[in-house]
Point group: D2
Chain length 314, copies 4
């Protein structure tokens, strides 16, 4: 089991959805950086469920308790540990699911792998765990902006209509401006591989493409190649089909990639499934659930991008 992400900037997360808390330890963050705690709260709020009909009705205050690594708002260079307590735990909602494997959830595979699982709200597999990523990601995003002028933007695409009592797929487009050229490594930890690894660590992610992506299938080399020229003493790419990355290393151009999320697997419609004592059953899921992933996942995409890029720069 691997609950850590990154090589030089390492985030380790912990916590079950319905345990006392979720949290993280961020190791490798440089010393003497002043944290803007308001921005952390704002990032958490953008991940939190909204009041629109597509979001879960679970409401958490998501207050961060900082445990170490910061003195008077400034980083010490030591591990930054933090927790966010789970206070809105209606675990009783999950009693009915104690012995049932929900379709397209990780219930079955957790039991296969560990022989035990915290059935309440998906336990560790719950998207609740991403709270820790957003806290850490916000610190990374602040650092990228203030020390290198790197900015990250995301936009969400989703169907106009969600069928009654059902869920839909969705997508996030991410754009990074200001990434310094020459970052990344050329063989097995290519910058795009690091980003893909980051995105596929987000629950429900099914596809990652960067630059021209899957559309490059239909292009010829003469169309696809990004020609270059010097103009006014500056290197300029005539196109950016590379999405800002060549040979695993940043070119200095805008980094662009797209992520597709599957439909939320928790739906209220009856489904055929099985129990942990090998019985067939028909399951109807009640409880509080999102109906589309991208709107809340965008904050996680942004956070994982920030952690990945900062890891490449420090």
């Amino acid at each position: 089991m691997n609950n850590s992400f990154g090589e030089r900037l390492v985030l380790t997360t912990f916590g079950e959805s319905h345990g006392p808390a979720v949290g993280g330890v961020l190791d490798g963050f440089p010393s003497r950086f002043r944290i803007d705690f308001g921005r952390v709260a704002a990032a958490l709020a953008s991940r939190a469920p909204s009041c629109v009909a597509t979001d879960t009705s679970r409401r958490e205050p998501d207050e961060v308790e900082w445990l170490s690594g910061i003195l008077d708002g400034v980083t010490l260079g030591t591990p930054i540990a933090f927790i966010v307590r789970n206070v809105c735990q209606r675990s009783c909602d999950y009693d009915a699911l104690r012995h049932v494997y929900r379709p397209s959830h990780a219930d079955l595979t957790y039991d296969l792998r560990y022989g035990i699982r915290d059935y309440r709200g998906g336990g560790r597999a719950s998207a609740r765990e991403t709270v820790a990523r957003v806290v850490a990601g916000s610190l990374a995003e602040q650092w990228l902006e203030q020390t290198h002028g790197v900015t990250i933007e995301t936009s969400v695409t989703m169907p106009d209509v969600i069928p009654v009592n059902d869920s839909v797929g969705s997508a996030v487009h991410c754009s990074v401006k200001g990434m310094p050229a020459g970052k990344g490594t050329p063989l097995f930890s290519k910058l795009q591989a690091r980003l893909a690894d980051a995105m596929f660590s987000i629950p429900a992610c099914r596809s990652f493409e960067y630059g021209s992506g899957a559309a490059s299938f239909g292009m010829s080399g003469s169309v696809h190649n990004d020609q270059m020229e010097y103009a006014d003493g500056h290197l300029r790419f005539l196109t950016n089909h590379a999405g800002g990355i060549l040979g695993g290393i940043s070119t200095g151009e805008e980094i662009m990639f797209d992520v597709v999320f599957k439909p939320v697997p928790s739906i209220s419609l009856p489904q055929h499934t099985v129990t942990d004592d090998r019985q067939n059953t028909l399951l109807t899921i009640s409880g509080r659930h999102d109906r589309v992933i991208a709107p809340r996942a965008a904050a996680v995409v942004r956070s994982m991008t920030a952690l990945t890029l900062m890891d490449q720069i420090i």
Copy 2:
């Protein structure tokens, strides 16, 4: 710089395209496994250029020299080191490229990163490096088959027509049968993240999707969810939109994913580009080059898949 792949089964590759040799060290391979050297040769042959018009005219015998880790054809549990000498090196072809950055190649970014590069044939960024992956991958594939009955198949998709003197994009579909259930990890090294990381380490890969992939965008949860039932005492999924992976862990179903490669960047048409002393120039590339990537890359997809899956199982 990171030239190693894997956590328990670790492949480290080395070698420049026009240096004395390319090779690898495979550490963590179990002891007492008998190698079929004929299959290694066959795997290398499937990666080697063919006689069709889309492939480079560089011809290498690709004979593997085994340096360690094997005694009388049986593995010792110690690192398996091997080299494949580069004998067909027409480096003079590359003299004209000594100071020019080829569009959509890694020439520019290598110089940005290292301040030096082996300009002959792309040096370390050349697809020649993948020879080492195919040798190691063949060992992993043999091990998967014989010890766990896991089989890997690939199929190639490419345009019917390649424009004269130009190149095209292409795709590889990969299918894995027999993967044991319960392999992988649920958070940051999800099985799909490992596979994505592996695929994006292959030069020119632009897109990775698994299971329902990007198409899941247009699905509702009720269509997409893989319902389950027990039939004749066996667990059965009614569909496999998950592509054999739930929560980062294998379900035991077929693992399926798709990879898209950009068009070969070396084309004979004239292109605008720049030199390492900041001059604009018009480049026409001669030399030996493929015109489409997937047919030869399929062997690399297969090899990287085998290394990734074996790493999860041992």
Copy 3:
């Protein structure tokens, strides 16, 4: 900065001596193991200062707050996070030390490395951090005992007399019984190298030797070699100068090693030192300090040994 220990069983610790808490995340601990919380408390008590004159007067209740990875007293296979709050913080004691580098402490080198430090009680360099190791180590020790019958014992050696207002060096001998044969690796992560790495991670450790240790300098091969024989069907070593380890791998015999700790550097006698604005000064340290390290460090030796050995076995 590296605040993690282990490869398969990974402990990450965090927390400053006078921050809100110290704590840890233990990742890789197997699922379905029942924790004896009483033993954890007992281990912490053995590390805590006693009432004898050689120990610091800082008194902490050291209550463990478990945050994740355990459900109804049984491990889930997910990361086990825990904190121990710092409640007895007389930080004002340290105001006088804000700009002074204490001799033979890490004050100077922390400033050299990070440009900032938590001056209160040594911050991260304080032995207070070892609380987290003892909590995690107790879990590992319980696991070793119950699943493999491995037991760890330590004994302390120290001078009979400690000069008034001064401190002394000390030593810990550690003995491990029941270690299965065949554990460890032969090259760069030899079992003895892992143990040495573990011991030198403990503050103030100056020497590590195993088996015949430094005394092997004065031995001939014919005396030193551990001859073997089968007796009653069991392999028997006639001696155990190897300390239970050959070629980096356990033999199944008792593992024995010795660690020496330097004198406690905080002493009440006046000392020549310097300030962070490059002034010379004469320092007299007040505050609460131990006068000998081994009696409390023995619990840490035991814990680090348990973590190291469990990491080799799982």
Copy 4:
């Protein structure tokens, strides 16, 4: 199995004592450094057996074949791979040892761990493997000297008289001058822990101590503490019991440590031992063997020190 050493500068070694070659891959070495190949040869010569009576009669030319990472004598920043062929292989010497476990060798534990071993000359456990460390270590030593002015010196201590047909223990003292202050990490990868890890990776090492070492047991804090003062604007330590390391981080003072090696286990005297089919036997070892380790191991101590320190600096 772990055949790699280092975190940023990573050496992977391979090769059996009586296989085709031993060699290594050095990854992470900076680009644009000019190699002095004569110094590499000299380092290998200092490790090679001499003509005095204490050394083995095996004579290898030890010529290095460079495979990658270097162009026209200058490093490329890509992995530096090299091999040294084994040409003086009198493997027949070892036929008699095929089924016998030599006392105080790794024969038994290799079989316990891997179920197979290359019985010829110890296979991978042979000191022959250290050839690869000396090649890589020489590159690191050159880099330390030329870029940072760091110099490494070793001295050997051994008994005046070696009993006829027997072997003796020995020691190496190592001193590093010019190490920049502020290098290392304070918790789990302390500089002294990295050095201890490096030294215990050398076959036959039984003890590591640094600075005041085991002698600190008998010191009081007032004697042991290294007091400081500014003199002529420079920080000066009045003593250096810390051996140049405080809190895991270099102080800028001389780094000093001592290593003790056990007696060579291959001796000509008859010894009680067992076979791999569980028979007792009396073994008399013929063949070519050293009688004391330190004189040749000093080159390995120096190399591992250089690799360790360069890993901390880059």
